[in-house]
């Protein structure tokens, strides 16, 4: 008898269609002049549009805001769980849903970082992965779901999540430092 083997899927949920609020003030907002107040920059999706200027501010800071951010309140572990099961049903029908029903469980979901971990049996993890790929909306919010890591133990999955978040944090901090430097100089 071989022991039951499973895979842990680390996934991230993105909300590219939701409008965002700036975390950090942009350069224009930090040092306002008369002209710039009159024509204040406005956000369009995620790109900051400077009036008359080029489409700007697609730096890491904004990108991190768009792609690694908390979602609306309606997205929590229970709605994510329901959406995943729904998607499996829709894409793989009764057979697919039946195969993975006993083994799929949402081990962890953090609304703050929109990151989650799923456990699936090793034989069928590709089914669940594809169901995540075809996930279009959760609780009425249009989303994109991407898998960032697959591993055999939850510990490795956790480590992967931590290292990814460290990298993103580093990028945000670096671009914030850059923004401050350019403003001071």
């Amino acid at each position: 008898m071989v022991r039951f083997k499973s895979r842990y899927i680390l996934f991230k949920i993105h909300y590219p269609s939701l409008p965002i609020a700036p975390i950090l003030p942009s350069r224009e907002q930090l040092i306002p002049t008369k002209v710039e107040i009159a024509s204040a920059p406005h956000y369009y999706g995620d790109g900051l549009l400077l009036p008359g200027g080029a489409l700007a501010n697609a730096d890491t800071q904004t990108r991190a805001q768009v792609f690694y951010r908390p979602g609306p309140d309606s997205i929590n572990s229970s709605s994510v769980n329901a959406a995943i099961r729904d998607s499996i049903n829709r894409c793989f029908g009764d057979l697919g849903a039946g195969l993975v029903r006993s083994s799929v469980s949402l081990k962890y979901f953090s609304p703050a970082t929109s990151t989650g971990m799923l456990r699936v049996s090793r034989d069928h993890f590709r089914i669940v992965w594809a169901a995540l790929t075809f996930l279009n909306e959760i609780a009425g919010v249009p989303v994109v779901c991407s898998v960032s890591h697959v591993s055999g133990t939850i510990r490795k999955c956790e480590q992967a999540a931590i290292s990814i978040d460290k990298k993103v944090n580093w990028e945000i901090n670096a671009s914030a430092r850059n923004a401050i430097d350019t403003n001071l100089s």
Partner: protein, 294 residues
Amino acid sequence: MFYDLNVPWPKGVTNTSSLEYTRLTGAIPDLFRTVSMLASFGYTTIAYDYEASGKGASIESPIQRDVFSSTLSTVTFLSRVTLILDDAAQAQALPSLTSKFDILAVRPTSEKLLLAACTNLEIDLISLDLSQRLPFNLRHRTLGVAVARGIKIEICYAPSTRQGDNNTRRNLISNAASLYRATRGKGIIISSGAQDALECRSPYDISNLATLWGFTQEKGKLAVEGDARAVCTHARMRRRSYKQVVEIEIAENAEKIDSKTKTGQNMNSKTKKRQQQSGGKTQIAKKRKAHDSL
């Protein structure tokens, strides 16, 4: 190094002034969102696609390759045209498109034209609309020739990730599986065709999807990485080399296709000959030389 060779250029955006205009109406911010989404997923080369029909000679490129180059500096942008082939005479216009676009793709609408595209057109990519039922069967005899010539065949996944119709997803799966069968898994690339950021998926998700369509894991990865790179190389060699074997690189005003290509700033107006290393390709080029002289 992941490649997405199909991001449709928004319709109606042609020059800088209308670019200014559409920036306010939303087409350009939408495109920007799509592109930066792809960039955050780790794609490093993105090609804007312009879908054209009719006579090729009058086609002008509306694509402005470098709109976002300064803001997304990690990404190389290319321009691409997909010519919808419904008449064999259109093939004559293909050379005139070479100078206007980086990548040349065709979408044949009948089996005859598919055969023509596979056997003798000077193109880089065959792009079939796999979200609909194809009017013909895909055969190994036809597609095998294209694969042997180094022309790749494209699958666009966006119709299946778009919200709504289940039928398009079914068609895509069925067509992708038959394409895999017909080509024996060789020479297939997968690109997005995403009109919105919500339709983009990360490269690893795509190669997982490919394994469900019947690809092996390795071929699934090749489809977004190695084979897609081969398309860019093929395009470059088609545009800038002699018989796809020798390339003359002019150091001073060398056009940048790939940002990592050496432009040779230290070599003053020296020309550099490049012999392509792969023996197989040389052989193909030789064959084609023989074919051309016939």
